[in-house]
């Protein structure tokens, strides 16, 4: 500030680069901010998120499982009810975490904490913010998945090393939901509209073959459930948990890859609407 600015200082050189208005290749600053904020204030909320699926597993798997006994697993072998629903609960937790982070969290930071307004008045572009927030959501999802998989191991629900693949697969599921969530949030104006997200999520959680096999439904409903993303996540993790791979495994993975691609395109297209009003 000691040197007096001259005309020369007001001359700026720019290079043409893709997404120049939206992206400044500095998502890492958004990520660093998220980590620092977690360290200094909201680590307790993070820990609580880990317990949710664990509590479900204990209550439904152990408690209800005592009544149910064993069920038929993905390969046709008998497995305990807890081992049957544990991967499903992990898929649900990956979905919930990613959706929460990309919708409610974004909505709040946008409209109430005004965090993004501050960020967007810097060299950051909206795409930096979006990438940073999605990365943070996935990092959190990976930590939860690792913790939950460890709990499964301690409860004796893991019988094969293939089960470790549930961790990266959970991140894939979370990515699918997070990439869509931010795009959807761009259409939301009020809290009432945000509640519709929960209205969609809860039935998906309850009916996506989470607690019982898909075969209980009539054919038409089966098709409907199979079109929804959570069912693919539940089935993918359930297969990985016992180390069984079929052509369906590839379909589940491809479903999520397409979801991520479409979701990221949607979110990128909606960034201006979301951030630059």
């Amino acid at each position: 500030m000691s040197n007096i600015l001259t005309e020369e200082d007001y001359r700026v050189q720019v290079k043409d680069r893709p997404f120049s208005a939206l992206y400044a290749r500095n998502a890492k600053a958004v990520i660093a901010r998220g980590l620092r904020a977690t360290k200094s204030s909201n680590w307790l909320i993070m820990v609580s998120g880990f317990f949710e699926p664990v509590l479900y597993l204990i209550s439904m798997g152990v408690g209800l499982g005592a009544l149910v006994g064993t069920v038929v697993g993905p390969g046709g072998g008998e497995i305990s009810y807890a081992a049957y629903i544990a991967p499903a609960l992990l898929a649900v937790s990956a979905m919930n975490g990613a959706v929460y982070d990309s919708t409610w969290n974004v909505f709040f930071k946008m409209n109430f904490a005004k965090l993004y307004q501050g960020m967007l008045y810097t060299s950051l572009g909206p795409l930096d913010v979006a990438i940073g927030e999605i990365f943070l959501a996935l990092l959190r999802g990976a930590l939860y998945a690792t913790g939950f998989t460890a709990v499964m191991g301690m409860m004796g629900l893991i019988t094969t090393p293939w089960a470790l693949l549930m961790v990266p697969a959970s991140v894939l599921i979370a990515f699918g939901f997070a990439s869509f969530g931010m795009g959807i949030t761009s259409y939301m104006k009020t809290f009432q509209q945000m509640d519709w997200i929960n209205f969609v999520m809860l039935p998906m959680f309850l009916f996506s073959a989470t607690f019982y096999p898909l075969s209980v439904y009539p054919q038409g409903i089966q098709w409907f459930i199979q079109a929804l993303p959570l069912w693919h996540g539940v089935e993918l993790l359930r297969q990985l948990s016992v180390g069984i791979f079929t052509p369906a495994t590839a379909i589940h993975i491809i479903y999520y890859l397409v979801m991520i691609l479409v979701g990221m395109v949607l979110t990128t297209l909606r960034l201006r609407k979301l951030f630059l009003k």
């Binding site: 007096i4 001359r11 120049s20 620092r36 810097t122 060299s123």
Partner: protein, 313 residues
């Protein structure tokens, strides 16, 4: 490499327009700001000042018109433009999840600045904002004035060439305002271009080399504070209070005194080159106001003249 002409103006707006649905928040305003100038947008709440500021920062998309900042379109080169911008928004948007000093460091990282630069810079700015002993405090424990000072300190972390200040001293006590004005004056002396919105005429008179009076998204007048007053008002103003019942009714009896008469609900204003002699004429007519005051014309009077409304409703 896009075609880069040497910009004569740091900011150039040409028939700038912003619609929200059918509502025109900014309705075709044009202005140019040369480097190092302190330029003000004066107007009441809802005049379109903040929206104009947001378009300059490239965080709001214009509906039509042209806008260049240092020769660049902020909608196309947002990150590059904002690298040289410091922004003090109307409402503090500090990061409540971070501590005071971390607010400065993290904000600096958004500009991609290295920690080796940011650490001493953050300490320097904490000193500047008189917040050194609050460095490790949580943001929500700060008073309103402290938050404002931190927001202003934060806007300087990248040593901006253009500083956008949206109602910078709203909510500050008089002493804090004068400290801030002093800091802004020093920045101006170092060649920083200041763009300031305010609805305080004393602030505009203190800080602005030149200003535009904005109302309903349009520019009503443009010039230096002194020239605007000279053009649109008289040298002095006589303020008379007759009590809230009588202010408007007494106006008829005052006809002919001064150049112009402005009856308001709480007082009557008489515009004249000589306030004292106007007051003598008032008493000579047998009228005895409860209070009377002779003062110099201000931008408030200019605004009243141009829009028929006062700045602070």
């Amino acid at each position: 490499m896009p075609n880069q002409t040497i910009p004569n103006y740091v900011i150039s707006a040409d028939r700038l327009t912003k619609h929200y649905g059918n509502f025109a928040a900014v309705d075709g305003i044009s202005f140019d700001v040369p480097a190092g100038e302190s330029f003000g947008l004066l107007g009441p709440n809802g005049a379109g000042k903040s929206t104009t500021m947001r378009m300059i920062g490239g965080v709001s998309q214009r509906t039509s018109g042209k806008l260049t900042i240092m020769g660049l379109d902020p909608e196309q080169y947002g990150p590059e433009v904002r690298a040289h911008l410091g922004v003090v928004p109307q409402q503090d948007n500090l990061d409540e999840e971070l501590r005071v000093r971390d607010n400065l460091l993290v904000y600096g990282r958004y500009f991609g600045l290295p920690m080796s630069y940011l650490k001493p810079k953050a300490d320097e700015l904490l000193e500047f904002a008189q917040l050194t002993d609050k460095a490790k405090a949580k943001v929500d424990s700060l008073s309103g004035g402290m938050k404002r000072r931190l927001t202003i300190a934060r806007s300087l972390i990248n040593e901006p060439k253009i500083l956008l200040l949206d109602e910078p001293t709203t909510g500050l006590d008089p002493q804090a305002r004068h400290i801030l004005w002093d800091r802004l004056f020093r920045l101006k002396e170092s060649g920083v271009t200041l763009i300031l919105t305010t609805h305080y005429m004393d602030e505009a008179e203190q800080l602005c080399d030149r200003l535009v009076v904005v109302d309903k998204g349009q520019i009503m007048a443009e010039g230096s504070p002194a020239s605007l007053i000279r053009e649109h008002s008289t040298r002095e103003v006589l303020e008379l209070r007759f009590g809230s019942e009588r202010n408007t009714t007494v106006a008829a009896d005052l006809a002919g005194i001064g150049d112009r008469l402005e009856p308001l609900p709480d007082r009557v204003l008489i515009y004249t080159h000589d306030g004292e002699s106007a007051l003598e004429k008032v008493t000579a007519r047998g009228l005895h106001p409860i209070t009377s005051l002779v003062r110099r014309s201000s931008l408030e009077d200019v605004f009243l003249r141009l829009t028929g409304r006062s700045l602070v409703d």
